[in-house]
């Protein structure tokens, strides 16, 4: 079956089994290996991508779910000004330990910054509650997102996207 979508700005047309897991297509067929597989059941958030701008776990989606839609992975977000800001903040606060969960946290933090962005610890915790870090470094992760929220207003607004 023919499936069309855009991934990190590239238009893709595949003739593919529509039930293939989206994560396998993103990683193995298209080479965007920033998206990680943790639990494989949608509970750890490591494989989170943005699908039409909303965070979803790609391990429990089929490639048919992406048909006609726009995908943004950690690689795509890393090229955006807010993505760069987040990476700098994670770096400064030493929030990344083993790094496996980081792409998922980056995607969800990016979504939080563009959809809300209020520097509220309570809101950040709730927004990131679908991502699990088994190094349990949550405190520094929350700090880095908080820092990014505080710095974001100083960015030129048309740089956001």
């Amino acid at each position: 079956m023919k499936i069309n979508f855009t991934i990190n700005g590239n238009h893709i047309c595949l003739d593919i089994d529509p039930m293939r897991r989206l994560i396998d297509v993103i990683r193995n067929d298209l080479g965007f290996t920033g998206t990680k597989e943790g639990c494989g059941e949608g509970e750890c958030g490591a494989c989170t991508i943005l699908l039409d701008g909303k965070p979803v776990t790609s391990c429990i989606l089929n490639v048919i779910h992406a048909d006609g839609k726009e995908i943004l992975t950690a690689e795509g977000i890393a090229q955006k000004p807010i993505g760069k800001l987040l990476i700098d903040c994670f770096d400064e606060t030493n929030a990344v330990q083993c790094g496996f969960c980081f792409p998922g946290f980056l995607v969800v933090s990016y979504y939080y910054l563009i959809s809300d962005g209020e520097p509220s610890l309570k809101k950040i915790k709730s927004a990131l509650s679908g991502n699990i870090c088994r190094c349990t470094g949550y405190k520094k992760i929350f700090e880095s997102v908080m820092l990014a929220c505080e710095r974001k207003p100083r960015m030129n607004t048309n740089e956001h996207e």
Partner: protein, 278 residues
């Protein structure tokens, strides 16, 4: 695995009737893909329905809220209409799964998956929700309380789907509301047990009470015997040892990896007691 993508609802039923035997309807994918991974679903045909916009969205009529089966939890949690009309229902769902899963999971899929721990079902039960069931040539309405017949079993016929969930607009009006989901953590947790309740007092007496239990029987259900016992009672003169006795006959919790039977019995009683007294 055979795959079908219908172009419309009539096309969906045409395809469905052509396939003999077991088949799965794929909506958000959050349950089906876990079952495929674990080998519970093997080679059965799959009919993709998540793109059928006619089955999405929240609408109101004079006295009913209609939630399309493919409406996601995120849409329910963010709905301005529900914030105005059914705020207890909406607020209680904020603890559902995780913000990421809320974006993907659909309300109809959650009910049709049939899990005894489905978060939404006890809430819908105390709100006297009905289901609108669609098939090729007819639409019928059934009470949610009469939908389940056993563990992951219900009255859906072959080639029939849950089309929408119907909730009376005044379902919460004038009631004290209660919802507790007990789990190991706040987010991403499957309930050890759930209690939902609505009560209305007059002169310190219980005029009307509705209590539903999740994860405490083979499917979520209303505790009718307990409701009958409590109706008309003065809340300062309730014999809670009798409440416990009736409750213990009406729920049949099991011990499993999430919790054990004794804990579930004790905490259910504690929650119901605090719901009645507060």
């Amino acid at each position: 695995m055979k795959f079908y993508k219908p172009t419309s609802i009539p096309d969906l039923f045409r395809i469905s009737e052509e396939i003999e035997g077991k088949k799965y309807f794929l909506a958000g994918g959050t349950d089906i893909n876990v079952q495929i991974k674990n080998g519970i679903i093997k080679d059965e045909p799959v009919i993709f329905i998540n793109h059928l916009n006619e089955l999405k969205g929240i609408k109101e009529s004079e006295d009913i809220i209609l939630i399309g089966t493919l409406t996601t939890y995120k849409e329910i949690i963010e709905s301005d209409l529900l914030r105005k009309v059914l705020p207890f229902f909406q607020n209680s769902l904020k603890s559902f799964a995780s913000p990421i899963l809320q974006t993907m999971a659909t309300i109809g899929g959650n009910i049709a998956n049939g899990s005894p721990t489905a978060d939404v079902t006890p809430l819908l039960l105390v709100l006297d929700a009905k289901l609108k069931l669609f098939s090729k040539s007819r639409i019928r309405e059934v009470k949610l309380s009469e939908f389940f017949t056993g563990y992951k079993e219900f009255i859906l016929k072959a080639n029939e789907i849950i089309g929408a969930i119907l909730i009376p607009k005044n379902a919460e009006t004038g009631f004290d509301t209660f919802f507790e989901k007990v789990g190991s953590r706040k987010s991403l947790t499957i309930a050890k047990l759930e209690i939902a309740g609505l009560k209305r007092l007059k002169n310190n007496k219980i005029e009307e009470i509705k209590i539903a239990a999740g994860a405490l029987n083979e499917y979520p259900r209303r505790l009718h015997k307990l409701e009958e016992f409590l109706t008309g009672k003065d809340i300062d003169r309730i014999d809670f040892s009798q409440v416990e006795e009736i409750l213990n006959r009406e729920i049949t919790p099991i011990s499993d990896l999430r919790s054990d039977k004794e804990y579930r019995l004790q905490v259910s009683f504690n929650l119901i007691q605090s719901f009645i007294l507060n």
